[in-house]
Amino acid sequence: MPALDEGTPLFVQIAEQLADDIVDGVLAEGARVPSTNELAAFYRINPATAAKGINLLVDEAVLEKRRGIGMFVATGAREQLRASRRKRFAEQYVDPMLAEANRLGIDTDTLVTLIQGPGWHNGGSTP
């Protein structure tokens, strides 16, 4: 059972884990998404919370409801999610990396080399 942390609201975490699966291709476009009851049982949470998470994604048009059958991944959902995540990529990953590099006195050139090559395991010596 995957752990849910205490910080972000549960339903947001549910939505993000589903989005992760879509981006990774685990949940293909057009595939059926687990029902609220299945999610509730899996994460051991209230079904209403699971429903809220799914609705978040429905609102973003990542998931679509097919009446009587269930929830499905919308066409184009993967690209849509990747695009929105690319926008956040800089804030979430690049900025912290730059801040830390700055703190440790790693200059931009070294940074670029680190990103490009595998030699950084050896304590900073460049190949």
């Binding site: 849910l4 942390d5 205490e6 910080g7 972000t8 609201p9 549960l10 339903f11 609220t36 009851n37 509730a40 049982a41 994460y43 051991r44 949470i45 209230n46 079904p47 209403a48 919370t49 809220k52 804030e91 900025d95 912290p96 801040a99």
Partner: protein, 295 residues
């Protein structure tokens, strides 16, 4: 839609104490509500009034729109699983059988399944069961009754952690498949935190918190790091608790943090630890800052 439970300025006093004081709340149909609070806060009294076992001294309480006391049509739609339920000199199977006669939605297959899950010997006298198993009998009845309003008052006395998890899992499965209104009173908040949609907290007979669980979750954070950095971060925030050890500080704040705040924390090399629902509720009850929290 009529709320399942509706209390208006409900009061209950005994000769020498006030058990409930001006309690007003509603419980909506099909929700799971946690009734939380310390020992003696009034949770059991409230549940007893809801189930018609006690009569209010003042105020009004409605269940399914009517007063529950001595009201058969309302009472048969409820099941109450109590902490210490007295049984006559019955075997387990007798108690189950009798309950099956009275509850209109009773599911016998579920009852038998639950007896197996909790490993309850049907022919054993209830008197001779351990405390935990006695609690399990109450839980089996409470779940198999499939009553529209199901109340649990600390139903797991003596149940070990494995059995408790079994109870939560069965409760969740049952709730998902056959929705009903559930009111669950508990000390072990963190164990049920994810099941709750709504929380009501009582303290000395009064309602001190009545909110959707999502609103309560994530509203508290403990900030750890070097003293100066921590103090800079919490400068204009609501501080609940401060602790220092040498040059490090641990401060608990009540404000929700946005992305910018998270970035700031990272920049200051502070670690952020969200408060569990239990810790949040302890603070809501106004426990003095340096009193230990026992789970």
């Amino acid at each position: 839609m009529t709320p399942t439970i509706s209390a208006t300025a409900l009061g209950r006093r005994y000769r020498d104490q006030v058990a409930l004081d001006d309690v007003s709340l509603t419980v909506e149909p099909g929700t799971v509500t946690g009734l939380l609070g310390r020992n003696g806060a009034g949770k059991t009294t409230l549940m007893r009034i809801i189930t018609g076992l006690e009569f209010p001294s003042s105020g009004d309480l409605r269940v399914f729109g009517e007063t529950p006391a001595e009201n058969d049509s309302v009472l048969r739609r409820m099941v109450f699983v109590r902490e210490e339920q007295p049984y006559p000199d019955f075997q387990v199977r007798h108690a189950i059988r009798v309950a099956s006669w009275f509850y209109p939605n009773w599911d016998e297959d579920l009852a038998q399944q639950l007896l197996r899950d909790f490993e309850l010997p049907p022919r054993r006298r209830i008197k001779r069961l351990s405390r935990g198993m006695r609690s399990a009998v109450g839980i089996v009845i409470g779940l198999a009754a499939r009553a529209e309003l199901t109340l649990f008052d600390e139903p797991y006395a003596g149940l070990d952690a494995v059995a408790r998890q079994l109870f939560y899992d069965r409760l969740l499965a049952e709730f998902a498949e056959h929705p009903r209104t559930i009111l669950l009173s508990t000390h072990l908040i963190d164990e049920v935190a994810d099941l709750l949609e709504h929380v009501v907290m009582l303290d000395h007979g009064r309602v001190v918190l009545d909110a959707p669980a999502d609103d309560v979750r994530g509203t508290g954070m403990t900030v750890n790091g070097p003293v100066t950095a921590v103090e800079e971060f919490v400068a204009d925030r609501t501080v609940l608790r401060r602790q220092r050890l040498g040059s490090r500080a641990s401060v608990t704040i009540a404000d929700p943090l946005d992305l910018a705040a998270h970035d700031q924390a990272r920049a200051l090399r502070l670690s952020l630890e969200p408060l569990s629902l239990q810790q949040l509720l302890v603070h809501a009850a106004g426990v003095p800052a340096d009193e230990k929290v026992s789970a």
